[in-house]
């Protein structure tokens, strides 16, 4: 088994790889944004009505949670660069907790909709206009895919958090934590677009 690897580290290259991967994630959601734009154009009225049924308060709380989590992950990188690994691990842990809080909120939000009989293919939803069916279809698909990314982000943060605790990530070599943080910011940015599209555009 070859162990050639690289004799010298190239952090810029590692970051570049992550940025390229983030492009692909953006475009993955980009496909959904296209679908959203087309159907919003075709069914403006129905989207307008359906959007009122979402709880703006819960959405706002979740936005604040995610923004705060982006702050904590950014601070963890600063902490590691200053050699405060313990603090960095704590900040990564806080980010993961905030991500968990986001998911709990999302769970209750979805649960409430399910309780009202609104979910893809439900008899209740099928009684409504096609614009509303599409709105809620997109709502579940887009927030669901986003929630999946939150979970993937939590796994990545756990891994880099453990690396930081063990000292694999340190003041002299922190690119792994940095790219993990980049991924987390992406999860955040996508929510920044989902929030107004579903909750605020009445």
């Amino acid at each position: 088994m070859s162990t050639q690897g690289h004799e010298h580290r190239d952090d810029a290259g590692s970051r570049m790889g992550m940025w390229l991967f983030l492009f692909t994630e953006l475009i993955l959601f980009g496909g959904l944004f296209i679908v959203y734009a087309v159907y919003r154009y075709q069914h403006g009225e129905a989207f307008h009505l359906a959007a009122r049924e979402l709880d703006t308060f819960v959405g706002t709380v979740n936005t604040l949670i995610l923004l705060t989590s982006s702050l904590t992950v950014a601070l963890s990188i600063v902490a590691v660069r200053q050699g405060k690994r313990g603090l960095a691990v704590m900040l990564v842990g806080m980010t993961i907790l905030l991500a968990g809080a986001f998911l709990v909120n999302k769970y209750f939000e979805w649960g409430h909709k399910f309780a009202l009989g609104i979910f893809p293919g439900s008899p209740e939803l099928l009684k409504r206009s096609s614009g509303e069916i599409l709105y809620f279809g997109l709502y579940f698909v887009m927030t669901g895919l986003h929630a999946l990314h939150v979970i993937i982000g939590m796994v990545i943060l756990t891994v880099v958090g453990i690396m930081t605790a063990r000292g694999t990530v340190s003041a002299s070599s922190y690119v792994k934590l940095e790219v993990g943080g980049l991924y987390w910011h992406l999860v955040d940015v996508i929510w920044i677009f989902l929030f107004p599209l579903f909750y605020l555009l009445h």
Partner: protein, 545 residues
């Protein structure tokens, strides 16, 4: 792997023969060496290619007579679906980048490996997983998917066949393709040897670079589209289901936003291979290096903006049709630039007629025919007449097989000595080339006439007046398959009994020919310093030969 200090390259074992930590097959399937991964891709891809060839051969046999010849209609539907999925996702898309890109990219830019070696291995595992899923979907209860490789809704939502495993296969293969592209872009940016400026890169690397960008930027769209179809099947979300207000045409847009650029993922590396081979066997520096390099980028860019020309009959606005038709015509400009430059390179060169060059010449002719018929399809009036006929099938087989397929044949005959350290017998290789070229053209040229006369694609049955042309095409398929078989056997024999290859059997000037054949584990003892362009056949280089 501590490399020995001695710079004496004679005594050094090649990468096949160095001691490995793992034994047997694990030395391969867990290796992060780009050369081993390239060979892994070659083996798996060849298996899928030959299977898909056999499927195509069976379909053509079925079309020998009207009505049933050997298989049932439903079998025919699943066969053309499988043929498409395997040829596109398992052979042409990974073919040149994953096999030859992996093996050669680090060698050609003077690096020891790709930037992310472990990610590279993961790509191959994803590729294998996707391939296995595609094969397994055939044998699961419910039967193989019968939607065509395009998975058009609403049929793909309604059919009871195993569409979901096929969708998952395509999704996983897309992910593999993205990771390969991401790896190559980073490698090309960060790991070029000192002195290897952008304009000293071999043109194959430019082609891989353009391809990699399409892989990274276009593939996610098909990913999300396939996810949506799967969700539609399981939950009835409604996004593509006309019964719930969804729009099937929107599916077609999303599908082609990826799948048209994917056509350029398939052809661009082949264009790069041709640009490598022509200067070597014409013993001249390439004509118009920068034009060829930038035309790859231009093809990647314009090729991403033409997707709706697959959909001229779905009911678009005239403005939309006009714009997409115009953009389609624009793509032909960078493609034509390449052809003119290749011909200009050959002009007054001291041409050595070798097997790779023969395949390249077939490529140029067939790719031109494919390109011109593509322009005919891009013209609105003709398009509506021949939409979904054999004309379209003939066109894309001329580009995909006559182009990329022959580009791949050229590549394997050109780099075989480097990859395996053996030479193949020339005579059988020439016979195989001749049969493949003749068979290919007898096979697919009648498709243009059939399509123009109105033979629809994917039909199991046809009117009796089409039979003579179908018979000609079927006979062509036999000649083509004979050619491919001779080629495969000849190369397999060469693996065992071929004469040992020197480091530089063709007199190439790019970096991969400066190391022994097959290359040592770490490619280069010392990272080379590049002082000249890739096609500089100056006397000093020739005298040493």
């Amino acid at each position: 792997m501590g490399s020995p200090v001695s710079p004496a390259s004679q005594a050094e074992p090649d990468f096949y023969h160095v001691a490995t930590k793992r034994r047997g097959i694990f030395a391969w399937i867990l290796s992060t060496d780009h050369k081993r991964i390239g060979i892994l891709y070659l083996v798996t891809m060849s298996f899928f290619f030959l299977t898909a060839v056999f499927i195509g051969f069976t379909m053509r046999l079925e079309m020998l007579t009207p009505g049933k010849t050997i298989i049932e209609p439903q079998t025919y539907n699943t066969l053309f679906t499988l043929h498409g999925i395997m040829m596109i996702f398992l052979f042409i898309i990974p073919g040149l980048p994953a096999v030859f890109g992996n093996f050669l990219l680090p060698l050609m830019i003077g690096a020891k490996d790709v930037f992310f070696p472990r990610l590279n291995l993961l790509s191959w595992w994803l590729f294998l997983t996707g391939g296995i899923l595609a094969v397994v979907s055939v044998f699961l209860p419910g039967g193989a998917a019968d939607t065509g490789w395009t998975f058009y809704v609403p049929y793909s939502i309604r059919t009871s066949t195993n569409v979901f495993p096929a969708l998952t296969a395509a999704f996983v293969l897309g992910f593999s393709s993205i990771l390969t592209g991401l790896n190559f872009i980073t490698t090309i940016h960060r790991m070029r040897a000192p002195g290897m400026s952008w304009f000293r890169m071999p043109l194959f690397i430019w082609a891989l670079y353009s391809t990699a960008w399409i892989q990274v930027l276009a593939t996610p769209i098909i990913g999300i589209t396939l996810i949506l179809v799967a969700l539609e099947r399981f939950f009835g979300v409604g996004i593509f289901d006309p019964a719930l207000g969804g729009d099937p045409v929107l599916y077609q847009h999303l599908f082609w936003i990826y799948s048209h650029p994917a056509v350029y993922i398939m052809i661009l590396p082949a264009l790069g291979v041709v640009s490598e081979i022509i200067p070597v066997f014409a013993r001249r520096t390439i004509f118009g290096y920068k034009f060829i390099a930038f035309s790859s980028v231009a093809i990647a860019f314009f090729g991403s903006l033409v997707w709706a020309h697959h959909m001229f009959t779905v009911g678009m606005s005239n403005t939309g049709m006009f714009i997409f038709s115009l953009l389609t015509f624009l793509v032909s400009i960078p493609s034509a630039i390449k052809i003119f430059n290749w011909v200009a390179t050959l002009y007054k060169g001291s041409i050595e007629v070798s097997v790779p060059l023969l395949h390249v010449l077939s490529f140029i002719v067939q790719f031109s025919i494919g390109g011109f018929t593509g322009l005919m399809l891009g013209a609105l009036a003709i398009n509506i007449h021949v939409q979904d006929t054999y004309f379209v099938v003939g066109h894309f087989h001329y580009v995909m097989f006559g182009g990329t397929g022959f580009g791949l044949f050229a590549a394997i005959h050109y780099w075989f000595p480097k990859m395996f350290g053996r030479m193949y017998a020339k005579k059988p290789a020439v016979v195989a080339w001749f049969l493949a070229t003749v068979g290919f053209n007898i096979f697919y040229f009648p498709f243009f006439i059939l399509g123009y006369l109105g033979m629809p694609r994917r039909y199991y049955d046809y009117l009796p007046e089409f039979q003579s042309l179908h018979v000609i095409a079927t006979v062509g398929s036999w000649i083509l398959v004979a050619g491919i078989l001779i080629m495969v056997v000849n190369l397999l024999v060469a693996l065992r009994r071929g004469a040992r290859a020197e480091a530089n059997p063709w007199g190439g000037a790019t970096l991969e020919w400066t190391v022994s054949s097959p290359p040592p584990l770490e490619n280069f003892h010392e990272i080379p310093i590049v002082t000249k362009g890739p096609y500089d056949f100056t006397p000093s280089a020739a005298e040493t030969k």
